[in-house]
């Protein structure tokens, strides 16, 4: 087994991977737990027609399919960024040979994404530089070879360093862009053909007729749209792969870090906030909401008082006090955290929890109303007549019949939470300042908006990525609501036909 692997990847690579020390952050655990649950849910839903049908309806919508493709790109980036480890330090004092030496690991926690983006991570300039710039954005005193000193924009250490003459830049960028786009197109073509072949195999059709079906858009699921969006994604990725190692395509920030790298690293933060928060809030909202509606009486009164009280405290106040208290705790207990990443991660997790605790009330209220309605429905009465225990009724009869509300709320809340993170970081009570997030990027860029000449690229990069993610999430949420909400389901079905 090992030898086979060694032959494939080479002994050096294998040794490198063996030397890594995996790091499991709390949010990583929860993220992979969530992925696991999702996989189980999909497997469960695939075998049940009443669950499959609405999802098929969701993906039959071209816009939703496009949104799903974009979302899954973000998810891939986020998952790659959720596998953490620490690299071993080079043993000092040379090889002793034979003597087993204790291996120390670097303090810095890396992720798979960092490995892929290593050039971006390491090519740090001195300070600001504009996208595709070859020179720094600030003047410095330079010493020319002949000894004279001038004040000018110095060349960048990495950005466009391969160019002999900076004036060749535009031609070089254009040429490499075309090459990148062409490569992307090529890969996409290969993928598209494979996909169509797979479809043809599944439907037992000849390849040609399947291809015509897809091209004419006559398939049940809009594969044409999916492939179209994927073409854009492939081209964008290939373009970035071609150009990013040579230029700072989104520029650099105040300390010279590549903005493109920061933007990609922020994806995970946004996704974690958007998903884990709902994960935290769901048990509260579902259990309390259903119990309030089902048991009524004093249980209902207590739960109602609880959420109306919680709802009337300003959310930001609650979040700010909780986050600041946590920060004090972290600062006074440095021994609990081995690395800075673990510290930042703890703060992220608590932000998720506190956001969840303040935002479960809406869903709880919706579920209470629905459970009140379902309590009187005949099939619940029939279950009571069989003497089915209360919690079995809650889990078997009520929960499956309110799941559509839960799903719709979760998907709708996702985009709101991504935006909330940006706002909270801006206020200063969001994620740890050392953690990459769009909120932090915007916060960092805000002061530079006022300077002349303006530094606009950090803000724009964060804005574009956040916009893409939130737009995709909203479009998907719309489709999900139409497919699952019984009130709009019929109307939507009529329109689709």
């Amino acid at each position: 087994m090992t030898t086979v692997l060694e032959e494939i990847v080479g002994p050096d690579t294998l040794a490198y991977w063996r030397g890594l020390k995996p790091v499991l952050l709390w949010t990583d655990v929860l993220v992979f737990l969530l992925v696991g649950v999702l996989v189980i849910c999909i497997w469960y839903a695939r075998r049940r027609e009443h669950l499959r049908a609405p999802w098929r309806q969701v993906f039959a919508r071209p816009l939703a399919m496009a949104a799903a493709v974009v979302m899954s790109c973000f998810v891939v980036v986020g998952l790659l960024d959720s596998v953490h480890f620490r690299e071993p330090l080079q043993p000092q004092g040379g090889q002793d040979g034979g003597q087993q030496q204790e291996v120390f690991h670097a303090v810095e926690v890396l992720s798979l994404l960092d490995l892929l983006l290593r050039p971006l991570k390491e090519q740090v300039e001195k300070t600001y530089s504009a996208p595709f710039a070859t020179h720094l954005y600030a003047k410095e005193t330079l010493e020319l070879p002949d000894g004279t000193r001038v004040r000018d924009y110095p060349r960048l250490v990495y950005g466009g360093a391969h160019l002999e003459d900076p004036s060749e830049r535009t031609a070089d960028v254009l040429q490499r862009s075309l090459a990148g786009l062409a490569t992307g197109l090529g890969w996409w073509l290969l993928f598209a053909l494979l996909w169509v072949a797979l479809l043809a195999y599944r439907h037992h059709r000849p390849f040609g007729s399947q291809l015509r079906q897809v091209l004419a858009g006559r398939t049940v699921l809009p594969w044409r749209v999916m492939l179209g969006v994927l073409a854009l994604v492939f081209m964008a990725v290939a373009w970035a792969v071609e150009l990013a190692p040579l230029y700072h395509i989104f520029g650099t920030d105040k300390v010279g870090q590549d903005v493109f790298y920061q933007t990609l690293k922020s994806v995970r933060t946004a996704l974690v906030i958007g998903t884990l928060t709902t994960l935290v809030m769901l048990p509260f909202a579902v259990l309390l909401g259903l119990m309030a509606g089902y048991f009524r009486g004093w249980v209902d009164d207590v739960i109602q008082y609880l959420y109306t009280t919680l709802n009337s405290i300003p959310g930001v106040l609650l979040i700010a006090s909780a986050v600041l208290m946590l920060q004090v705790y972290i600062d006074t207990h440095p021994e609990m955290f081995e690395t800075a990443a673990e510290r930042a991660d703890m703060r992220l997790l608590f932000l998720c929890i506190i956001l969840g605790v303040t935002s479960w009330t809406t869903l709880c209220r919706l579920l209470r109303g629905e459970a009140l309605k379902l309590h009187g429905v005949d099939y619940v009465q029939a279950a009571v007549a069989f003497g089915v225990p209360h919690f079995r009724i809650l889990s078997r009869h009520l929960l499956p019949n309110v799941m559509h509300i839960v799903l719709i709320t979760v998907v709708l809340d996702f985009s709101g939470l991504v935006l909330a993170e940006a706002i909270l970081s801006y206020v200063g009570v969001g994620v740890d300042p050392s953690m990459h997030s769009w909120g932090n990027m915007i916060n960092g860029a805000r002061l530079e908006m006022a300077r002349e000449p303006m530094v606009w690229w950090s803000l724009l990069a964060a804005f574009v990525f956040m916009f893409l993610l939130v737009l995709a999430a909203n479009l998907l949420a719309d489709a999900v609501r139409d497919a699952f909400d019984p009130r709009t389901r019929d109307a939507a079905a009529g329109r689709e036909s």
Binding site: D378, Y379, G387, V388
Partner: protein, 674 residues
């Protein structure tokens, strides 16, 4: 006088759905004369409502589309009119009233203003003139105190009142044709009688034609001049009322009559039409009724029958085709339904007492204000005593809101009674709590009215039927349990393959069978049937009633049959109890109560049931007004406010129980003091 007002010619309406299109109305033709009532009779899903919507051009666009034919109103084709002209036809020439008065009125406008809107639009009256026109209309539809009612909102009116307001709105435009789509289906029998009377009177008075859409043969018998029977999108028979009721021509019409339950059929199973109305979204090449028709022969399954006009009507059946019916094999003619005779059951089986209810009371507190102070009680069930013997059926009859469903649920302890005892085989259920009650729950089960809401849509049939067995620990071995599910499904007449499917894949009748199987799974002794057939079509109702009767014979079940349908009572029950405002006013053997009703309320109920025969118009005892609120029942006898024979003593105290001959008990002063 016989002047054709509306003439529908070869009307075809097509509906598009996800799974493709189908013709909901296929080549429908009929004429309506001025001043006559034309009834369109059919079961649910046969296209009768779509026909009326097509005439009004109110189909839900773009799903529904008229694809052919003509609708001539005084010779003008409505289908060719521009929308603007059509708007003048609606309301002015043709008006429509719908089945559900609760949702047809705007809840935030006063009823007077809603009627005035129509008056202003169609009669171009303003201000004071419009108001007096509205008051006249309210007066005309028999709403007492129109001045006060003008400013009231829909929620302040009862169902019957709302339907009257709807009628007033329809009349406001002084239409030539009134389309009444199941106008009384949502109403109680006594209110139904009032509304039908009103419609008939208004029609005579205004010389207005009426298109009456209904599934109720009794309503047709009482109202119609001519009848058309629809089946699966087509008119299969058309005839004047008298000849239709004397001698229905089409096998489907004949079957409809035979499957009506009634007291004289109680000693034998009802004739049923096997199967259900076919789904319209498949192509028809042959006769649409062939697969449910026992007279069908080869030709019926191969070619579609033509319309055979006969005098004033016609029929769509191969039996009336001289050429084809001559080819009909003779043995088919002899194929009569195999009816197994029930043994005559004169006296109720002496199986001993199963359930004894004593002075059961269910009061719901009315709470008001911030601290939920109790300001009064709704006396839903107010001292009811009832006895059910083993293997017997007791029917509980009453109008909606009289507390009969609450009573059923209180027996099952789904609603905890306020006072009284429910003794099942010596155990008082009202005293049992928690585990002790749970263990007894297998003895009594319930079947609900609405087969669509009584099963969890997320569970498979198998899981639904097993739930009771699992909870009560009756069958612990999964294999034996699966076997039992298969047995139960066969017992209620469903294929075993049904176990793996979801409830939404079944029709109403099939769902009701699943509900029965679910209840039977725990081997109950008592079944509370809460209007189990009132949501079903006539032909399916007969199937379910037969099933219930068979099961009772096989398993010795006792039924408490809660219903408002007196013909079902006559067919199924041994004893009947009539309930009015939370109390039983009359109780006795079925033959006694139905043939010789003692209480004026029972008399009125019986007379209000439309009779299914050619001369359906007979003396109806009209009850004034509606059921009073059970939160504030009238003093003395609750019925005195509506009773045609009320005496002064009735206003003072509630009458005691009077025993008449043969265990017949009644609470009325007409008998008590004498």
């Amino acid at each position: 006088m016989a002047e054709t007002l509306l003439s529908v010619r070869h009307l075809c309406t097509r509906f598009e759905t996800e799974r493709g299109g189908f013709l909901a109305v296929d080549d429908v033709s009929f004429d309506i004369q001025r001043g006559e009532t034309f009834a369109l009779l059919g079961e649910s899903g046969c296209g009768k409502s779509v026909t009326s919507l097509s005439i009004m051009r109110l189909l839900p666009e773009p799903a529904g589309r008229i694809v052919g034919g003509q609708v001539l109103l005084d010779g003008v084709d409505l289908l060719g009119l521009p929308e603007l002209a059509m708007r003048r036809v609606r309301g002015n020439r043709i008006a429509m009233i719908f089945q559900e008065p609760m949702t047809s009125l705007n809840p935030v406008l006063s009823v007077g203003d809603q009627i005035a809107e129509v008056v202003i639009l169609h009669r171009r009256l303003r201000g004071r003139a419009a108001r007096s026109a509205v008051l006249e209309l309210l007066e005309a539809v028999g709403i007492p105190d129109p001045e006060r009612r003008y400013g009231e909102f829909p929620h302040q009116l009862s169902g019957g009142m709302k339907q009257r307001v709807m009628i007033a709105m329809a009349l406001a435009g002084e239409p030539d044709l009134l389309i009444a789509d199941e106008p009384t289906t949502a109403l109680d029998v006594t209110i139904q009688a009032q509304v039908l009377d009103l419609l008939a009177e208004l029609q005579r008075w205004r010389d207005m034609a009426m298109l009456l859409i209904t599934h109720d043969l009794g309503v047709v018998a009482g109202m119609a001049d001519r009848v058309a029977v629809m089946y699966a999108g087509q008119i299969v028979e058309q005839a004047p009322r008298r000849s239709f009721f004397a001698e229905p021509r089409h096998p489907y019409s004949r079957k409809l009559f035979q499957s009506l339950p009634d007291m004289h059929k109680r000693d034998r199973p009802l004739t049923v039409i096997p199967g259900t109305v076919p789904a319209l979204d498949r192509p028809f090449r042959a006769c649409r009724f062939a697969e449910r028709c026992e007279l069908a022969w080869q030709d019926c399954r191969e070619q579609a029958p033509q319309w055979h006009a006969e005098g004033d009507g016609g029929v769509r059946c191969h039996l009336y085709d001289r050429l084809l019916s001559s080819r009909r094999p003779l043995h088919a003619a002899a194929a009569q339904p195999v009816t197994s005779e029930y043994t005559q059951r004169e006296a109720p089986p002496a199986g001993g007492r199963l359930l004894e209810v004593e002075e059961l009371k269910v009061h719901f507190p009315i709470q008001k204000g911030l601290f939920k102070r109790t300001v009064g009680h709704v006396h839903a069930v107010d001292g009811v005593s009832l006895r059910i013997d083993k293997g017997a059926t007791v029917a509980l009859v009453g109008e909606s809101g009289c507390g009969k469903t609450t009573f059923g649920k209180a027996i099952l302890q789904l609603i905890r009674p306020t006072a009284g005892r429910v003794v099942l085989e010596g155990t008082d259920l009202t005293r049992l709590r928690g585990e002790a009650l749970r263990r007894r729950r297998s003895d009594f089960q319930i079947i609900f009215q609405d087969p669509f809401s009584s099963m969890n849509p997320r569970m498979r049939v198998e899981e639904i039927i097993q739930e009771g067995m699992v909870t009560l620990g009756l069958e612990r071995d999964p294999q034996r349990r699966a076997q039992r599910v298969a047995e139960l499904l066969q017992q209620v007449g469903l294929p075993v393959e049904a176990r793996a499917r979801y409830p939404h894949e079944f029709s109403g009748g099939q769902r009701q069978r699943i509900c029965i199987a679910r209840a039977l799974a725990v081997r109950p002794k008592l079944l509370v049937c809460d209007e189990p057939t009132s949501a079903l079509d006539i032909s399916v109702q007969a199937q379910i009633l037969n099933l219930l009767k068979d099961l009772q014979r096989e398993l010795g079940l006792s039924y408490l049959f809660i219903t408002h349908n007196l013909s079902v009572v006559g067919y199924l029950a041994d004893q009947v109890a009539v309930m009015y405002l939370g109390r039983i006013v009359e109780h006795g053997r079925v033959a006694e109560v139905l043939n010789r009703p003692a209480h004026p309320y029972t008399e009125a109920l019986l007379s209000a049931v439309p009779a299914v025969d050619a001369d359906g118009r007979r003396e109806v005892i009209r009850l004034e007004g509606d059921l009073p609120s059970p939160a504030a029942p009238p003093a003395g006898c609750h019925f005195h406010t509506r009773c045609p024979r009320a005496m002064p003593v009735c206003r003072e105290r509630y009458p005691p129980v009077t025993e008449l001959a043969g265990g017949h008990r009644v609470r009325c002063f007409l008998y008590g003091e004498g």
